[in-house]
């Protein structure tokens, strides 16, 4: 993909910038200039406004990729998922910070900002959204060393109270 094309798509790739029809409130990603939901499309003309998705959603379907796309060689095997965002649009994206055995339909995810691809060692680096398990879904406790005390519940200090 050319640098120019990637750059034009920056608002979409960086910030999940879509569009919303203020006539029927349908949200689109990628953004659209007319609303196919409105029975008379002309109703939506001039009523489409930019709309930023929250990045929250859940896994609708997924696949585990073993034959990587260019630039994803270091990540194999990785999870590619269809994510239904809370605002409605379905996005395709990699789910990071999860092992293939941990992925499931219905998993709550949120958008995260990652490197997508590098144009070789000297070229430009492309960034954009991927998905990661939402807070409660990822609770992998760390392997504690024998020397380390068990975690104690940490209460807020109230030294001057």
């Amino acid at each position: 993909m050319s640098i120019a094309r990637f750059w034009r798509e920056t608002p979409r790739r960086y910030n999940l910038g879509g569009s919303k029809c203020t006539n029927c409130n349908t949200v689109y990603f990628p953004p659209r200039s007319v609303c196919p939901e409105c029975t008379h499309h002309r109703q939506s003309i001039e009523k489409m406004v930019p709309f930023q998705l929250s990045g929250e959603g859940e896994v609708l379907s997924y696949t585990v990729v073993h034959e990587p796309a260019e630039g994803f060689e270091m990540l194999v095997p990785y999870v590619l998922a269809l994510v239904r965002t809370t605002e409605g649009p379905v996005l395709t994206g990699q789910v990071v910070d999860i092992e293939p055995e941990g992925i499931r339909i219905g998993l709550k995810v949120r958008a995260t900002f990652r490197k997508l691809r590098e144009e070789g060692k000297a070229g430009v680096i492309h960034y954009g959204y991927k998905f990661a398990p939402a807070e409660e879904a990822d609770t992998t406790p760390v392997a504690r060393s024998p020397a380390e005390p068990a975690p104690e519940p940490r209460e807020p200090t109230r030294a001057r109270a």
């Binding site: 990652r114 680096i125 960034y127």
Partner: protein
């Protein structure tokens, strides 16, 4: 000084490796090395993470927590010694990714491990002078030690973002000052992948001298002693140096407890003192006094005399993860996978 911290966020990548695992590969007693450094494990970034992505994650957390409109950010500075590009700013990508462009000034800061605290000082000046409404200072690194080098046991990845403003300040900055000299303790020349260091020279004349001088100077200027602080945070290239300098200055383990994070995530360089401060703010209530002393090789220390306000009781930390989460969670890697993730394997044809 009316400018202060209005929000903050921290981020540490998910993967960990232990000194024992590193030592296993190099034929040294890694566990003893880890005990000597007081580093139990260090964080490792995924191959698709770098200083730009880590900075963006921590800043997004800070903006949501503080309900800050990114278009009101007037300055954004990222302090790091591992900027992905030699020429092309980290700060512009981060600004675009959080929706702060185009009406702001942005730049990358570099001063070894204290570039993030230097960015906070710059923001305090701009906000205090009412030139901007919000200033963003980020400290992030994904630093590496050469394979087998002592630094490999501690060099890790992580970052924290601080939003400086005048309204709804959760932590006031009562004073800041610095102590700076030309000291060749640690450096990396242009084009070199791994840094060089002066071995034992990195201790006394570098870290200990600068940190203690800055700490003593700020306490003298503020008319305080260690007893006046509930928390103290030092730069922490390992888990031992901050404990030693803290003890020498007269601070207790209890005062250092929340500010010391390196034993659990490794040395995040520009992120280290700032993640420690984020952990303190995660636990602090109103009217708690905090001393922060950063350190950057080359060399200099930035000191901050801070006090939380009543606003911190209302501050909503629920978005993003508390620092404690990163200290307690992670996925252990073998050295082989770690080497692959960090680009230490020669792939041929290069």
């Amino acid at each position: 000084m009316q400018a202060g911290i209005v929000s903050y966020g921290a981020y540490v990548p998910r993967y960990r490796i232990s000194p024992g695992e590193i030592g296993r590969v190099w034929g040294t007693d890694g566990e003893a090395m880890g005990q000597g450094l007081n580093v139990l494990r260090k964080s490792v970034p995924s191959p698709d993470e770098d200083t730009i992505t880590i900075s963006t994650e921590s800043l997004r957390t800070a903006l949501v927590r503080g309900a800050i409109d990114p278009q009101q950010i007037g300055a954004l500075y990222v302090g790091s010694e591992s900027h992905p590009y030699a020429v092309k700013p980290t700060a512009t990508v981060v600004a675009q990714a959080v929706g702060a462009t185009p009406n702001l000034t942005a730049a990358d800061f570099e001063f070894a491990c204290k570039a993030g605290t230097a960015a906070i000082q710059t923001c305090l000046g701009l906000v205090g002078a009412e030139m901007i409404r919000y200033g963003v200072a980020i400290g992030t690194d994904t630093s590496q030690g050469a394979p087998g080098d002592a630094l490999e046991y501690s060099a890790s990845a992580g970052g924290a973002a601080f939003v400086i403003g005048r309204e709804h300040v959760i932590c006031r900055v009562l004073r800041t000052l610095s102590y700076t000299t030309d000291t060749p303790d640690f450096w990396r020349r242009e084009g070199q992948k791994y840094p060089s260091h002066g071995g034992r020279f990195t201790g006394e004349p570098a870290y200990f001298r600068h940190v203690s001088e800055a700490a003593r100077a700020i306490m003298e200027a503020s008319g305080t002693t260690p007893k006046d602080y509930q928390h103290v945070v030092f730069h922490q290239p390992n888990g031992k140096f901050p404990q030693r300098v803290g003890k020498t200055l007269g601070f207790t383990e209890a005062q250092m407890r929340y500010g010391l994070v390196t034993p659990y995530i490794g040395n995040t360089y520009s992120g280290a003192a700032l993640i420690g401060l984020a952990n303190v703010l995660d636990h602090a209530g109103p009217k708690e006094r905090i001393l922060v002393v950063g350190y950057g090789s080359g060399a200099g220390s930035d000191a901050f005399d801070l006090e939380t306000t009543d606003e911190i009781a209302k501050f909503d930390r629920s978005f993003g993860r508390p620092v404690q989460y990163y200290l307690d969670h992670g996925v252990a890697l073998s050295y082989a996978v770690y080497a692959k993730f960090r680009g230490k394997i020669h792939m041929g044809g290069e």
